[in-house]
């Protein structure tokens, strides 16, 4: 043990003298190559003194646990080991530092603190640990020196703020790519950042080459400038990234991730194209191999793109103040200072509400004035929003003249002029704006020839002039304005079509109108009884509509009283007799509503009483047809009359022929009895359901349904 200590003590002494010697005379010494290898062991050995010194501290802290001399002996052993590893580490570190490529100032601090650790541990070894007055503070001082040395060392290898970086948020700078970002920043530098920066940065500077800025790269390193614009074959960077992996000159060195084939190609092409560090990526020819390669890198990075703006945020209060019910000003996102302004409700628009936006002139990148009463005179005001990228003037009162005043909007990308009076000449003028990408001129005063000329003259702009329909489409049928099929006294039938300029043709005689036959609808139609109306819509450039059919009833006299002699089916009993005399007509679509009565097993039999026997010319029974639901016209309808309830006589019996062909959907129809001049107090109507449905409706030849909704006396 004593021998061991003696040897160690003298070794530590010797090495520390050597260390001091090396530091003092470093400029006059030539390092042999073996020392270089020795120096590279520094990162391995340096952890030993750290651990050992911590143990020395622990031994001191728990010295009461050791009995007798144990403390002194253990402490001596620990200190010996700490001192010898410290000094060896220091010498190795010194040797390593001579390889160069490190940040000088950090290296200096590391050298000083490292040497301090070595000398302090040597001192600790020499003085007696029993000499507590000296030993304890000295141990603490060496510990502080150790922390300093460790910190600076780590800064050299891992970069500044390595430990805290993950907590401080984005350690790496996020690249924001806009259309004007240079291809170098968008595609080349990210490769360098990933593959080269870890050694060629401000702290490390391997080969004396700094790659973190264009200026630094242009300065070059130990072996000169790394690329020659236009000549990739004589550029050292291309040569070295393409060397075989095992070659010592290969970059990045063994152990680091090499460049991918795509990255190598990208660099090669870029240097071949002139190694331009300023040209925007959007300005390269889109079909060029370089652009195609670069695009892949750019697109990958663009998922996170948030356009970068250098102007400051507008204050929250300012934005709040600018918002009114008719003007909305919004910030693009929490992280972006860009503002968009939109105006709504044309009648509430005031010119000074546009002028007020001047207070956020810098931040305003998008302005929507669509539909507002804005004219050419507002051009001057708009032209002051020089950061505008998007301007929507759709359906405003502007003409081409306004565009002349907008030529100062150099950042404009998108311009919407739909439904305005802009003309060819002014569009050609505005088209010279450098960043303009799309112009919307649908429904503006531009003909096909002018559009073609704009497209050929300004191919980088997408001119959108709309999507005209080439096929001829069918019109929709005319619509009925009346809300009831029952036309009351003094009312007339009103038809309409919502497409202006459409002609409605109609017939009342059951024939089908077409685009040349039938009456042209000019004014509302009067009827005097049950009427079937067929109508179509016709218009130039359109196919005529399908025929719409309506059945109208004319409202009549309300009986003094009425009663149903037979009961309607329990499922469709409506409001009983009231359904037949309520002066309400509806379509069969509402057959579940109380407007309809349904009969199947029994005929419908209803009696109507009029107190004063005024002449009645017509009796109309309204019924429905819907073959899908087995609803057909009654087999026969009888009308009985008389002035005495018990002595009614049959006036007329109408037999309705069974249908012979299938009809889709449903319709309303009626049986009309013409009565001449006779008048009665009592009328009775009997409608009999079909006993056997025709086979095309029901294969089982079941009974048919009769649905009736009104009996009208005119």
């Amino acid at each position: 043990m004593q021998l061991f200590q003696r040897v160690i003590k003298s070794a530590v002494f010797g090495f520390n003298i050597l260390l001091i010697f090396l530091i003092v005379f470093q400029d006059r010494i030539v390092f042999p190559s073996w020392l270089q290898s020795f120096g590279r062991l520094h990162p391995l050995l340096l952890h030993l003194p750290i651990g050992t010194l911590v143990i020395a501290l622990l031994v001191l802290l728990f010295r009461n646990e050791f009995k007798g001399e144990a403390f002194t002996r253990i402490n001596m052993l620990v200190l010996s080991f700490a001192a010898i590893t410290s000094v060896l580490s220091a010498i190795m570190g010194f040797a390593l530092s001579k390889e160069g490529g490190y940040d000088e100032s950090v290296l200096r601090y590391h050298l000083i603190s490292g040497t301090a650790v070595s000398l302090l541990t040597w001192l600790l070894l020499i003085i007696d640990s029993q000499n507590q007055k000296l030993y304890r503070p000295l141990l603490l001082v060496s510990f502080v020196a150790l922390i300093a040395a460790g910190h600076f060392g780590a800064t050299i290898t891992h970069g500044e703020n390595f430990v805290l970086a993950p907590m401080m948020g984005k350690g790496e700078e996020q690249i924001v790519i806009t259309d004007s970002t240079s291809l170098y920043h968008a595609a080349i530098e990210p490769v360098f950042r990933e593959k080269c920066f870890s050694c060629h940065n401000e702290q490390k500077k391997k080969g004396n080459l700094l790659m973190t800025s264009v200026a630094a790269i242009n300065k070059g390193g130990k072996h000169g400038v790394i690329w020659k614009a236009g000549d990739p074959k004589s550029s050292s960077i291309i040569e070295r990234i393409n060397l075989p992996d095992e070659n010592d000159e290969h970059m990045p060195p063994v152990g680091k991730t090499p460049l991918t084939d795509k990255e190598k190609k990208l660099l090669y092409r870029w240097i071949l194209a002139g190694a331009d560090t300023k040209k925007a990526w959007t300005r390269f020819d889109a079909k060029d191999t370089l652009t195609l390669l670069a695009n892949e890198f750019i697109q990958n990075g663009r998922n996170i793109d948030e356009p970068a703006y250098s102007f400051p945020f507008a204050s929250k209060d300012k934005i709040k103040e600018l918002n009114s019910p008719y003007r909305t000003v919004t910030q693009a996102s929490i992280e972006s200072p860009a503002l968009a302004a939109e105006f709504f409700v044309s009648q509430a628009f005031k010119i000074n509400s546009l002028e007020e936006l001047k207070s956020v002139r810098e931040q305003l990148v998008s302005l929507t004035l669509a539909g507002m009463p804005v004219g050419d005179t507002e051009g001057k005001m708009i032209s002051e929003f020089t950061n505008l990228e998007k301007l929507d003037l759709n359906k405003t009162k502007i003409t081409g003249a306004i565009l002349n005043s907008l030529t100062g909007l150099k950042k404009l990308k998108s311009l919407a002029l739909v439904g305005t009076e802009v003309d060819f000449k002014s569009l050609s003028q505005i088209a010279t704006l450098p960043d303009l990408k799309e112009v919307f001129i649908w429904n503006a005063k531009i003909d096909k020839g002018q559009l073609a000329e704009l497209e050929s003259k300004f191919p980088s702009i997408r001119w959108n002039a709309g999507y005209p329909t080439t096929e001829t489409l069918k019109l929709t049928p005319p619509l009925l304005v009346n809300d009831s099929l029952l036309i009351k006294e003094g009312q007339r039938i009103q038809l309409k079509h919502n497409l202006a300029g459409t002609i409605i043709r109609y017939t009342l005689d059951g024939t089908t109108p077409d685009s040349v036959t039938g009456l042209v609808y000019k004014e509302p139609i009067s009827i005097d009884g049950f009427t079937k109306l067929k109508a179509i819509a016709c218009r130039d450039e359109w196919l005529s509509s399908a025929v719409s059919e309506f059945t109208f009833f004319k409202s009549g006299r309300k009986p003094t009283s009425a009663e149903l002699s037979t009961k309607a089916d329990v499922k469709y009993k409506g409001e009983g007799i009231n359904t037949l005399v309520d002066n309400k007509k509806s379509t069969f679509a509402d057959f579940r509503e109380p407007y309809w009565l349904g009969f199947r097993e029994r005929p419908m039999e209803a009696l109507f009483y009029f107190k004063d026997a005024k002449p009645i010319k017509k009796v109309t029974l309204g019924f429905a047809k819907s073959y899908y639901s087995y609803v057909v016209a009654p087999e026969s309808v009888e009308l009985w009359g008389g002035n005495d309830k018990s002595g009614l006589k049959l006036i007329e019996r109408k037999v309705i022929p069974t249908p012979t062909q299938k009809e889709a959907g449903y319709c309303e129809d009626a049986v009309v009895f013409q009565l001449g001049e006779k008048s009665f107090n009592y009328y009775k109507v009997i409608a009999r359901p079909v006993a056997k449905l025709p086979e095309f409706i029901s294969k089982k030849k079941e009974r048919g349904w009769v649905f009736v909704d009104e009996v009208i006396f005119n």
Partner: protein, 482 residues
């Protein structure tokens, strides 16, 4: 008594304190391991409502909901194998024991059936579109088809509710309500969330107002249903004898009374009521401008088809949707009913397709020609898909399909989605997804992402926990982002 309190305080002594402190720090540390952002102090993101979390691609949404579940196999998911194997039983290895609805689970056989309608490829993406959607086919290069949507529900109501609110049971806020809550209203003269209904002739399923509910959010975020009649918003005019100034005075006084009531009871619904009166007042001037179709040029009527002038039709709703969206309405929700073809696929599917084909395509083109498509997201689709086998007996000339939640197709256009894309893939039987599945939660996360919202940060605290549209799941699908 006071003594006992004092003793109770003593129970928490230094040891307890330190012991609990240790546990507290431990839990905090564990929490920060599990939720990395826990202590990053970014809580304010959640609170900053009304501004997107990051620059949005889309500012507005028009959701063309095809209610009843249109068959993907007759529209966009072309499966020739089904035509070849028509009549053969669905292989057990494909069905793999997955559940069926009560309507077909009792079937002895599951005869495969292919599309009655022919398919062709369109556009640069080579998307397959069936012949009954000729106009949607023409704009294939504008669309992003997602063929690998899948949901958890197998019946209409829960599936519809899931698609619209992110939960199957209802009472959660609808997508439109979440967006109104997260981003606010752009045009304060119109509701931020509007609902338009139409109905086709096919077998239909109901829609209920719970689909556009505000759920637990403030009721100002509720969807406002427009009328299908000639007047989309009823009672806009002041009654005779009352002019605009009278109306203003009435509202001002009413608002004072309501504010007093609010001071007393503190019920936030009172504030909502005040806001809604104000909105209704402003709608008196904004709506007539909006619903006036006479100013639409002929070419627009030709683009959407003449039906767009017939109130209550899908085409009319598409046109109105464009006008609402153009006027800054954040979320326009359409429902077209009648897509539930359990039977008579051959008869009903073309009718339904005809209702929506031209107008859906027209809407996309119309937005585009106005320069609005890149900031408007258009979504087209139903609540689930339909089975590759026939429901009931397979006849020679007709068939039907049951509900199929495991794969269906929707499409999106505009607002930051990659145009001319076909995303995801189903197997040759159209039964299971074999590539890039998109769950309903993922769909919601992606839609919110396009609107500039982080779906994990758009939250609302209710009944003791935070809720999201995607609740506890969902991931953004980068493959469909432009």
């Amino acid at each position: 008594m006071a003594n006992e309190f004092f003793e109770r305080h003593l129970n928490i002594n230094r040891r307890h304190f330190l012991g609990k402190l240790g546990l507290g720090f431990g839990s905090a540390a564990l929490g920060s391991l599990l939720i990395p952002d826990l202590f990053s102090g970014k809580e304010e993101d959640i609170a900053s409502l009304g501004i997107p979390h990051f620059a949005p691609k889309a500012k507005r949404i028009i959701y063309l909901f095809q209610n009843g579940a249109p068959s993907q196999l007759e529209s966009f998911d072309y499966k020739p194998t089904l035509i070849k194997m028509a009549g053969q039983d669905l292989p057990a290895s494909i069905r793999n024991g997955q559940r069926l609805t009560g309507m077909t689970s009792g079937q002895a056989k599951f005869p495969l059936v292919g599309s009655h309608f022919s398919f062709q490829q369109y556009g640069k993406s080579g998307a397959w579109v069936s012949e009954i959607f000729p106009n949607i086919a023409k704009i294939a290069d504008e669309l992003c088809f997602i063929k690998s949507m899948h949901t958890e529900a197998i019946n209409h109501d829960p599936a519809l509710t899931f698609m619209q609110t992110g939960a199957q049971q209802g009472n959660r806020p609808s997508m439109g309500a979440w967006l109104s809550y997260g981003l606010g209203s752009d045009n304060k003269n119109l509701p931020a969330f509007c609902v338009l209904l139409s109905r086709g002739k096919g077998n239909g399923q109901g829609v209920y107002s719970k689909l556009w509910t505000n759920g637990f959010l403030d009721s100002i975020h509720q969807g406002v249903q427009f009328s299908s009649s000639e007047e989309p918003v009823l009672y806009l005019n002041n009654p005779s004898g009352i002019d605009k100034d009278d109306r203003r005075r009435i509202l001002d006084n009413l608002s004072q009374l309501n504010s007093m009531a609010y001071e007393e009871f503190g019920d936030p619904e009172i504030q909502t009521k005040i806001q809604q009166y104000e909105l209704a007042y402003r709608m008196q001037s904004s709506v007539p401008e909006l619903t006036d179709l006479t100013k639409e040029p002929d070419s627009i009527v030709k683009l959407y088809g003449a039906e767009c002038l017939v109130p209550g039709t899908y085409a009319a709703n598409c046109l109105l949707a464009r006008k609402l969206s153009e006027s800054g309405v954040r979320f326009v929700q359409l429902y077209h009913q009648g897509w539930d073809q359990h039977g008579n696929m051959v008869g009903e599917m073309p009718m339904q397709a005809k209702d929506v084909d031209r107008a859906s395509a027209a809407l996309v083109l119309d937005l585009k020609q106005r320069g609005l498509l890149d900031e408007t997201l258009v979504i087209w689709g139903g609540e689930f898909g339909r089975t590759n086998y026939c429901q009931g007996d397979l006849s020679k000339d007709n068939y039907g399909r049951d509900h199929h939640p495991r794969a269906y197709t929707i499409w999106m256009a505009g607002g930051g989605v990659k145009p001319g894309t076909v995303y995801g893939e189903t197997d040759e039987f159209g039964y299971n997804i074999i590539k890039d599945p998109v769950h309903v939660n993922d769909f919601h996360a992606t839609v919110l992402h396009l609107m500039g919202l982080n779906h994990e940060k758009l939250q609302y605290k209710h009944l003791g926990r935070r809720y999201r549209l995607t609740d506890i799941a969902g991931k953004v699908i980068p493959g469909i982002l432009a």
